[in-house]
Subunit: 413 residues, 2 copies
């Protein structure tokens, strides 16, 4: 759904690079342009490290496609990139973003299977949040005709990750049960839909209370994040569940393992609890890392349990599993064509609104996926705006995020 | 194969309870007997804690079968039971043994599916090493006609464990690769055979050099335990393997994880490195436990790896998964009927030879399964025998096992 009504911001800001000196809607976007607009992360830290600026137009190398981007996916991982709290972060300045949809604009040498004009969705190893990206053909997939660009940008990462966790790592079968943290998020909603393609699967969802009305029908049982959900799940299923999907990490790891049935699989697919505030803090990151409960393999042996980690981006860009992901995407597009799955879009944001979008995902305000709509104009400035003019590389820090405001609407400063 | 030639012991001993006062081959074994022979573990510790004695004949409760035992399986776990180095050990005196084959002698009330005279194999929660056992019908399976009792006693635990690890926990598929520690052992040989039922599976086996000639054909690549097998495997498969099966634990856990491909599964199914010597040593057990490298889930996330523990006995007797095991057994018996799998029997031993058999498995001298053949007479005493007469509960300690003699033939004292 498009952002509207209560999702409107009371206060916002543009992040146009003051050196550019013109409004983004006037930026040239023809195929002959030498420059393009992109979101730039100038250094690790708070929201003030992000701005929209012009960059040289990329051109495809051999084996690559040049894609005119229509929509980009925004994931929790992008917040961790912003803070530098990921393994081997890139050296800033960098254009963030790992997935997009758009139209093939040109084709590099020795590149087959795609033609100019093809509607595609793609994984990109950074650089997705721009008007144009180039990416190897191995990471590009043709979109179904009836899929919108926003849907496509919401589809790739969430559904591929959900599918691979359920069917490649955990072997979901008829009659099993699944517990998903962040049931209202993009992966959570994909998990719920994919579970409904298997007979008699029980889905336990954890989500903040204010999301319950919107997502109640997508899961079998829904619990508030703030209640003792371990006890609630055990009341319904005393011996636990077959699969636990955890994107939070921290103390949830131990809880998740406790809830596993024998032969059950716990999968950690994110560590969003490591994003403790708005700013980079290596200390808080390291603290979180060490606080993660480590697992003794002998305990797994005695309890017949399985613990797994899943990072789709590492699988694609570090571990070279793009052929396997292609097979998974084929299966998913088949399910989409059969109308068994459909990505849930939370809201659309202009590139210039990336800070507000990030704040919304930080506050876990979203239901489904946040999309950067490259052709969208930013919401008009309010009278009380505080225009961002900080330069790349500056070390100024923004105040820590308000931990009591997880459920508030997107709003910054 | 039966024990013969070089497997013959130079020195042996009987363990007849001196109170019984007659040779075991004369013991009454008709269905009307009030007593039966059994191996008794009188306390935790060395081999001297084991003896054969008479016990009251058990009678089946409702839902149980009474089985006249023909053969029993001896597993590494039985050594850990003897030492008391398992989780929640039973209170001695206890009759060890978790699996046997035999003939149904009587049927408890409300017990269906079996008749007197049926040839069966069974899991037992202790008490298998006896002339007669009673066990719930849920743990009993009919033997194929062409299967011998020795084969049956070698079949249940090893093949069910191997099958469930490969296909339930790890999802073995065409083209994958498997590394198995202790390739020459009972589970190792079952793993190798089951892998050959899937097209194009590569099996890397680790075994002591002296076993290589006997098992070379069962695996694709075979390495000596004492070489740096990590490097050897990587020479052949630079990105590692899909499944690592580890029954050793300790430093092998870290090695196993290193060798895993992305999306690969490491399975710990035993901890035989914890059996450090011949005698009970809580200190050495605790030391081993803490030395096991604990796993940070975030590392699994970054590397896309899966770590699992598998204990079939816990699955059966603590976790109530006997229905699932029954389904697995049906599939295995189907493979046996098709002559795709066949248990490998290392050697047959009389109940009175349980110490020598245990020493052989402790020294990792076996290729395939060690079987206690209930009807077998012990090998005649040699001149230099050292008859064991220690009583239950005595705290005397035997000397530590010689760590340099892992590959020697069975030989005690």
């Amino acid at each position: 759904m498009a952002k509207e009504g209560p999702d409107m911001m009371e206060e916002t800001e543009f992040m146009i690079d003051t050196n550019v000196g013109k409004e983004p809607e006037n930026v040239e976007s023809s195929g002959d342009a030498k420059e393009m607009r992109a979101v730039i992360l100038s250094g690790f830290g708070g929201l003030n490290k992000l701005r929209v600026a012009k960059k040289a137009m990329p051109e495809p190398q051999g084996g690559e496609l040049k894609i005119r981007v229509k929509a980009c996916g925004l994931n929790f991982l992008d917040l961790m990139v912003r803070q530098g709290t990921i393994d081997n972060p890139p050296k800033p300045p960098v254009v963030p973003g790992f997935e997009c949809s758009g139209i093939v604009e040109s084709v590099g040498e020795n590149t087959t299977g795609f033609e100019i004009g093809d509607r595609v969705m793609a994984f990109v190893n950074y650089n997705a949040w721009a008007e144009v990206v180039c990416t190897p053909v191995d990471f590009v997939y043709k979109m179904p005709e009836e899929m919108s660009f926003a849907e496509a940008a919401a589809f790739s990462l969430n559904f591929v990750a959900a599918y691979m966790m359920l069917f490649e790592v955990a072997n979901l079968r008829e009659g099993m049960s699944v517990l998903v943290q962040s049931a209202g998020g993009g992966v959570g909603q994909a998990v719920a839909q994919l579970c409904s393609t298997v007979p008699n699967v029980t889905v336990f969802g954890i989500a903040s209370c204010f999301k319950h009305a919107a997502i109640r029908d997508s899961v079998t049982h829904l619990f508030d994040r703030n209640v003792d959900y371990i006890q609630e799940v055990k009341k319904i299923s005393p011996d636990g569940v077959d699969i636990v999907l955890d994107c939070l990490c921290g103390e949830n790891t131990g809880k998740g393992l406790t809830l596993l049935r024998p032969l059950g699989t716990y999968i950690l697919y994110g560590a969003s609890n490591m994003v403790t505030g708005d700013t980079k803090s290596f200390f808080s990151f390291a603290k979180s890392w060490w606080q993660v409960e480590k697992v003794n393999p002998i305990k797994l042996y005695e309890e017949n349990k399985v613990i797994a980690g899943f990072s789709l981006l590492n699988l694609l860009f570090k571990h070279g599993k793009c052929s396997l992901v292609k097979l998974v995407m084929d299966k998913l597009l088949c399910l989409y064509d059969q109308k068994k799955i459909k990505p849930v879009v939370d809201s659309l944001w202009a590139l210039e609104e990336v800070k507000e979008a990030m704040q919304r995902i930080h506050d876990r305000g979203n239901i489904g996926k946040l999309i950067l709509d490259v052709e969208k104009s930013p919401t008009p400035l309010m009278a009380s705006d505080s225009t961002e003019t900080s330069e790349a590389g500056e070390e100024e820090e923004e105040p820590e995020g308000d931990n009591d405001s997880k459920e508030r609407m997107p709003f910054i400063h």
